[in-house]
Symmetry: C2
């Protein structure tokens, strides 16, 4: 392998893929990034066996070839080089990296042992605007569970209903659902939340297309020069739509920034009570107030003006409340519930495409 | 105690002092900040028994008094409040903190048990411009040792010589010395590096004065509304000036940014060899090059153009080299040494007020 590539391109590609490589695993080659020529392009790939990312960049290829080199060293090294042309020259398993002022030799491992994700069979193929897809992922991915004892809840569900595409995640304490608009393909796939975190790192927020191809085992997300393959989560996702309330006895609409502020201050006093805060809605005063459960440190009550129908109070985890509020982008937020033990719904009074449910705590 | 204070002032004072409070200690009151009225001012203090910081702010005092409250909660809480007037009202040991929209009660501990640093006796008193003092501290403090088995090396030495004030630190592997200019008082004091780190947080980089008063046990640094008291390090500081070479067989002068770049890249390949890199100076080529000791990962040679007299090579710890280079601010750097086992000196060819010595590694 012998080629020329710009520092800018190589650095960008390493930035996309290197983070997937893991030096703490049992298989040393998984700490490496695969560098491979194909025609006049160079592909860089890394995998952790659950997901694989490949980034294609332009290069002036003089001799075809491939090698794997330590991902972290290669990324830090290329990142430190000045911009300009870099020569890569493979001699046996040693990759010579040369610029004007720098000469390095990086010891590689032959690429034959680099694990390849199996090919995707079938023809399930659809696409979405990457900016929209990214925003939707950001709004739901944090609501997925980390708990491997219920694997289905560690996934993000992508599914169609009545010709509309939805993305949803829940850890059983909270639930986020985003509607992404029309989709002709019938879709139902459960992608691991950690893979979607990696997708978020590499997906653009522009008008480009993200193309999704999948079978029962795997999904491929293709965005411009970057491809991400992930295995899918096995199992039946719960029918979460039943959990989303649609009518409310008590409802408050207020500035989202105001609610974030009072929730933040209240959460400081809720550290000893695992984040538990009580939200009270007062129709007569047209005021929403949050009270932190009294603790050793002290107690706090904070209030904000709101447009209110009904009275009532409900106890929530303040971190879940803040996570949810930060997932919205509108100026106003509507907060509705029916009773102390019923799920709370947060929504944007202007658009109905994102809904966020938080289960109450016992108080 | 009953008073009004602005959120801005209270927040600023908590920002200065709260970090000194420590909730992991054995004495619960050390996790607290002391809030105390004095005339029409409010003082906030925190201590860890080694150092104490006090910040005075203006306040509208209606009733004198004092209380200690949890530092971290108080800081996070006040920091989250909107700017404007805050009412503080002490009822028994409960501090009521009230604004327009927020009502809090913070549980305090009576201030009688709050430890006070002993008063400073004697009349050793001098001053320096705080901007100059801060810059000097930044240039030397990182060279002090963390190793408590040789306590004197954990200190920063402030001393006068021939009417000039010097600041110096060494961990025996490297040494930094800064000359601060004329000082009429005869000074010799050894301040703990950790206390100087705290001083760096609160000292301004302006033309204001920092006033230093000290006896054998303690020093007081007074800057505007902030006072820092620290105990001093006991023991005799080594005569470090003997370690600073003044003549060189081999000497290179080059752009500091160039040397930082090649040192940075080389350090990536030196991770397995504890940072060891070899600097070679070639008079004929007028080039300085750094070679990373070959490792499992690979090896690197990087070079930069330099004005050179003499030939030679020396092995250094790349982290020490980078620390030193980053402590200078001039465009150029001069790098001189005499032999493989002799100390290296880094200096600015334009000004002689800062010198940095690095001891070589055996290679």
């Amino acid at each position: 392998m012998k080629l020329q590539v710009t520092q800018e391109n190589l650095n960008r590609a390493l930035g996309s893929v290197a983070r997937v490589a893991n030096s703490r695993g049992t298989l040393p080659i998984l700490a490496n990034v695969l560098i491979k020529t194909s025609n006049n392009r160079l592909s860089l790939s890394a995998t952790n066996l659950d997901i694989a990312i490949t980034h294609y960049i332009g290069a002036k290829v003089k001799e075809e070839g491939s090698i794997t080199v330590p991902a972290r060293l290669m990324q830090d090294f290329i990142n430190s080089l000045p911009s300009g042309v870099i020569d890569l020259d493979l001699q046996e398993t040693k990759l010579h990296v040369t610029t004007d002022k720098y000469q390095s030799v990086i010891n590689g491992i032959v690429s034959d042992d680099f694990p390849v994700m199996p090919a995707i069979s079938g023809d399930k193929k659809w696409s979405a605007k990457s900016g929209l897809f990214k925003k939707a992922l950001q709004q739901v991915v944090f609501a997925a569970s980390n708990d491997e004892t219920r694997p289905v809840l560690t996934g993000i569900l992508l599914h169609t209903n009545d010709g509309k595409l939805f993305m949803a995640a829940t850890d059983s304490y909270r639930l986020a659902e985003k509607q992404l608009g029309d989709n002709k393909q019938d879709v139902h796939l459960l992608a691991p939340a950690f893979a979607m975190q990696d997708l978020l790192r590499v997906i653009g927020d522009d008008e480009q297309e993200v193309q999704i191809t999948h079978d029962d085992q795997q999904a491929l997300f293709k965005m411009g020069d970057i491809e991400l393959v992930t295995r899918l989560v096995d199992g039946k996702y719960p029918d979460y739509t039943k959990l989303i309330p649609s009518k409310f006895n008590t409802k408050a609409t207020l500035k989202r920034a105001d609610l974030i502020n009072v929730a933040k201050v209240s959460s400081l006093f809720a550290r000893e009570s695992a984040g538990s805060v009580t939200i009270a809605i007062d129709e007569k005063a047209q005021e929403l107030s949050i009270r932190s459960a009294a603790s050793q440190l002290g107690e706090n009550t904070a209030s904000a003006a709101a447009k209110i129908t009904g009275n009532g109070s409900i106890t929530l985890n303040s971190r879940y409340l803040l996570d949810a509020l930060n997932a919205f982008s509108g100026d106003d937020i509507t907060f509705g519930f029916n009773g102390k033990l019923e799920p709370t719904l947060l929504s944007d009074p202007k658009t109905a495409d994102y809904q966020h449910v938080i289960m109450p705590l016992k108080s």
